[in-house]
């Protein structure tokens, strides 16, 4: 190393500024999420007052029944047993899809990757369709999500086996295998729909996604799965940064690329599988959120992941609230996210292309 420089910075002003900006972003996002939860709890068939929502939640958390003593006895039930589980579920699934998408784009080095790139959604849809078609009720309410999860996990397993033959996991192999397996499964789903006759509407409805009548059990399940996954992802976030310089470089910098990729791939896919099992197929959140957030935080995964988590939660919760409480009739959440997300993605893409053209000229 030469010691020719005299412009050595006494302090790293750029980095401190960056860290401060990032802390502010995170605090703002977290505040926005909390606000969104409270506002969303107010809205619906019965409008609950802002302070009443806070009181109901506070009463639940602190166990002081006195706080809700003078309000309509129905309100706490509506907020605590109907709205909050659904609201939290939507937020957690949004967070899960967003971080899963972030990791998929990072591992596959492809900005078009999303949580469903490896066919997880098709696998889950196939599993759910089988459960609905055969009317498997032995696990009661949970048989469809369970089958969806099994379908997703089996698909993931198969895709990884298919793509890791030969020279280890490469992103092209993974994407191709995912596309092929998803195509086969889609044909299978079409066939199942054809067989389903009068059940076909149930299958279609499930595929379009919904958070209706989620329970606290769903909230707990998704929170544990996605929370654990998030910690695993944060642990490998720095390695994921290095992988974006290419496997050869990452490996020369001390990253066990094969192991890190496998761990992250499995984590992101399991998160995606849990999300799909709980809510059906909700597109565009996992594709769009990492893109939007990357524009603000930059591509460093240590900042990108937490910011995506919060942004995904806010957006999907917002979308679910719109369909639940704002629109005159509830439309499937998967349709809504695609209707909003598609054009937004086009806009981002168009702006980026324009920016690149501007630079080239």
């Amino acid at each position: 190393m030469t010691e020719s420089t005299d412009n050595r910075p006494a302090k790293p002003p750029h980095r401190r500024a960056l860290r401060e900006a990032f802390s502010i972003q995170l605090v703002l996002l977290a505040a926005a999420l909390l606000l969104a939860v409270v506002v969303s709890s107010r809205l619906g068939y019965l409008t609950v007052g802002f302070t009443d929502v806070l009181r109901i939640i506070a009463a639940k958390l602190t166990g002081q029944a006195a706080l809700t003593a003078e309000m309509d006895a129905l309100l706490p039930v509506v907020v605590l047993e109907v709205r909050l589980p659904r609201i939290l579920c939507a937020a957690i699934v949004g967070a899960g899809l967003a971080i899963s998408g972030t990791v998929f784009q990072g591992i596959l080095l492809n900005p078009l990757a999303d949580p469903y790139t490896l066919g997880v959604s098709a696998g889950a849809a196939f599993g759910a369709s089988v459960a609905i078609l055969l009317n498997l009720g032995f696990l009661g309410f949970y048989s469809v999500p369970l089958f969806a999860f099994i379908g997703a996990a089996a698909t993931l397993f198969f895709v990884i086996i298919l793509s890791s033959s030969g020279e280890g996991l490469s992103s092209n192999n993974l994407i191709l295998s995912g596309i092929v397996v998803a195509a086969i499964l889609s044909a299978g789903i079409s066939f199942l729909k054809y067989l389903a006759d009068e059940h076909v509407s149930v299958i279609i409805f499930w595929l379009m996604g919904s958070f209706a009548s989620r329970t606290w059990a769903d909230v707990a399940l998704t929170a544990v799965a996605i929370g654990t996954g998030f910690l695993v992802m944060l642990f490998y976030a720095r390695d994921l940064n290095l992988i974006s310089l290419g496997n050869r470089t990452a490996s020369s910098m001390g990253v066990d690329t094969a192991r890190v990729m496998m761990m992250l791939l499995i984590t992101a896919s399991v998160i995606a599988a849990v999300c799909v099992s709980v809510s059906g197929i909700i597109g565009f959140v996992g594709l769009l959120v990492p893109h939007m957030v990357r524009l603000i935080t930059g591509p460093d995964n240590r900042r990108l992941l937490p910011a995506s988590l919060l942004t995904g939660a806010i957006l999907l919760l917002g979308a679910d609230t719109v369909t639940r409480a704002v629109l005159p009739t509830e439309i499937p959440i998967g349709v809504l996210t695609a209707l909003i997300g598609g054009p937004v993605f086009c806009y981002i893409f168009w702006r980026r292309q324009k920016m690149l053209r501007g630079d080239a000229s």
Binding site: M1, T5, K11, R238, R248, S251, S252, G254, G298
Partner: protein
């Protein structure tokens, strides 16, 4: 530390990429690896960084087998400037150079003032300080390659592996980068191992040349001894004249059309 290859072989499927390589690479020298396309040069570097494992023989780093040295430790011993320097996401230049410090910084700790100093020095050495805040994705090929070179410098390792590290740079920057490497080797007793395409640049900078063809070593030794028309004919199948060139003070090669 001494690198020793003992009958190293590497197969890719049925194809033998590296075949029975044995040599000693004592530290403190600027080595050049020359050979036609597909002669196994990059694979040899992959074996040395531990990115690939030899299918035959073994590589000794000091008195330890290379595969026994933990990856994290190896990353503090050797840095690689790869041939492909594509960066997939819009990181800023200084972020990429800072990645060179990752092997020295615990996973969840922010960089220290010392790390910042080393990064600033590496950027200044590679003459990219002006671009520190730019997005890597917006730079030209040669500029990007200098960023990647600075990243490897920031890794601050005794051994530097260069895989056609100046292939996209203009001649001024090529010379400046190679001067920097040569100076590290001379003044700080570090080791450089460079895969090169430009035989004249190799003749100017490398003290020791390794000629490869079909995954084997054709010959290796001090530049003055091995850089001659006979070797070049055997390795590259071209007719050449090798002469001492006083202006550069080194052996230079002229080619027959």
């Amino acid at each position: 530390m001494n690198l020793r290859l003992e009958q190293v072989g590497f197969c890719y499927g049925d194809q033998k990429i590296i075949d029975d390589l044995s040599m000693d690479l004592p530290p403190g020298l600027f080595y050049g690896i020359l050979g036609p396309n597909g002669s196994g040069k990059t694979t040899l570097l992959d074996l040395l960084t531990g990115h690939r494992k030899p299918t035959d023989g073994r590589i000794l780093y000091g008195d330890r087998e290379l595969s026994d040295v933990p990856r994290k430790q190896l990353a503090k011993e050797m840095a690689l400037v790869p041939q492909n320097f594509y960066v997939n996401f819009p990181f800023r230049v200084r972020e990429v150079v800072m990645m060179g410090r990752y092997p020295h910084i615990p996973r969840f700790r922010p960089p220290s003032a010392e790390d910042d100093r080393i990064v600033a020095e590496a950027m200044s050495a590679a003459q990219i300080t002006d671009y520190a805040g730019c997005f890597v994705t917006e730079l030209s090929g040669g500029e990007k390659q200098r960023v990647v070179f600075a990243r490897a410098l920031a890794q601050n390792t005794p051994l530097l592996l260069l895989d056609e590290a100046t292939s996209s740079m203009d001649i001024r920057h090529s010379i400046q980068v190679l001067n920097l490497v040569a100076q590290r080797v001379r003044a700080e007793k570090q080791t450089a191992l460079a895969v090169m395409q430009d035989i004249n640049l190799a003749g100017m900078y490398c003290e020791h040349l390794i000629f490869m063809k079909h995954g084997r070593i054709v010959c290796h030794g001090p530049t003055q001894q091995v850089l001659n028309p006979d070797t070049l004919r055997r390795v590259f199948e071209v007719e050449t004249k090798v002469y001492d060139e006083p202006f550069s003070g080194s052996a230079q090669v002229a080619f027959k059309k």
